[in-house]
Amino acid sequence: MQCKDVELVLEHEGLEPLPEEARAHLAECRECRNYIADLTSLVDAAKKLPAEITPPDRVWIALRAQLEEEGIIKVPAEVLPVEQSSWWQSINAFFSNRVLATAMVGILIAAAAVFQIRSDRTAPVVSPDRVAGTGTSIPAAKTAGAELAELSVPQTSGEFDRTARDLSEQEPVATGMIVASRSPIDASLRDNLKKVNEFIAECERHLKEQPQDELTREYLSAAYQQKAELLSAMIERGRSIN
């Protein structure tokens, strides 16, 4: 057997087991011995590479959204009480989308923050008498009105305004980073952002109509949280792509 015959054996049979003739050739041919030793080292090293790598969760989220959109996954229709108002139905429909439901973990955190904001607001209500007693020139009735306005119109409070402003500033940056991408994941992110923005607008509209609605305030806070996560994911994707 010659070197070329060994090559043919390797091509047709692989590294193991080598036939007797090939082994006899190897005993005499240092080059073929080194060649096979190298290939064996390669195969050994390849076997140590991880055969499984966990993908990011967003792949399943985007895939699931696509499967639902195409009707491949059948989502059971939720039975809603007849007396529910239209805005509540739309919120339910919104959260029945599993894409966004996966972000509900964030809602729990955000809800805790909202409760904290609420308790902070209710605690420091200052009585008009006390303000007058400090010698300030602000009329007591006006101060109380301002306090009341702060409490009763939460969508203009500093927390929501600042969050909304920060997110609005980040939005063009984040969307711009994936604007040219045709990836289904990026399309899904854009689609989700659109839905969240619509939901935020709906919450804000509802809060204008019913400023005291704490549940809507919580949903709004959660929606901001989701928007922040989506923008963050877009920026991360954009950085990876670019």
Partner: protein, 222 residues
């Protein structure tokens, strides 16, 4: 981007003890059951993602391709009759999706195969006399190997990753690639040979760089 890397898994997915639950999940998914789709995805996504990542070399593309592969699979799951293993079917779709993308993307329009030139005198393998011995030098570390795998032509890369990294047998690879068992064996051998050459080139480059650095250092010392 963070991706968790699990320990090597040489178990053939088609022989997994979860086969029974997989069959049930397939049946339920065919009826549109959401949880079963997710179950199937969780069973296979790590291997499919590893394959995609090694084929394209970057996570965003690997994510897109994996999503596309699963999407195609789930669109056609109603037609799955179990003639081949589900894993083989999924990997065949994945390989098709990946190779299709690479064909579109590869600017030099390189062939999926690449001929390994035989030694002119002997007709045997190119042995690069004087080339470093990979086994002795310990050059085949993970980083070097991953980098060299990326440089393989797509067809070689696919067979090498499926066989030597993911542990598929040649008959399974033949099913996945739509080729004969003999062709799979031949492609694998050529892939290994080409990898050896790439690693040797790496070693030569490293040695050259080290010599250059040593000369520069000596020059500074004078």
């Amino acid at each position: 981007m963070s991706t968790a890397v699990s320990s090597p898994n040489r178990v053939n997915a088609t022989q997994s003890p979860k086969s029974a639950t997989e069959a049930e999940a397939i049946r339920l998914a065919q009826a549109g059951d959401a949880a079963s789709f997710e179950h199937l995805y969780q069973l296979h996504s790590r291997r499919v993602y590893a394959l995609c990542l090694r084929m394209v070399g970057n996570p965003p593309d690997a994510e897109d391709l994996m999503q596309e592969a699963f999407l195609q699979l789930f669109r056609k799951i109603g037609t799955f009759r179990g003639e081949s293993a589900f894993s083989t079917w999924l990997h065949r779709m994945t390989v098709n999706v990946v190779l299709m993308r690479l064909r579109k993307k590869t600017l030099p329009a390189a062939s999926l195969e690449e001929t390994t030139e035989p030694d002119e005198e002997t007709g045997g393998p190119r042995k690069d006399i004087g080339a470093p011995d990979l086994r002795l030098s310990g050059a085949v570390d993970r980083v070097n190997l991953e980098r060299s795998i990326e440089k393989l032509p797509p067809g070689y890369r696919t067979v090498f990753v499926l066989h030597d990294v993911q542990g598929f047998e040649h008959n399974e690879i033949a099913g996945i690639m739509g080729c004969s068992v003999g062709n799979s064996k031949s492609q694998l051998h050529k892939a290994r040979t080409r990898l050896r050459e790439l690693l040797q080139e790496d070693l030569r480059d490293q040695a050259r760089t080290e010599r250059h650095a040593a000369k520069t250092q000596a020059g500074l010392g004078d």
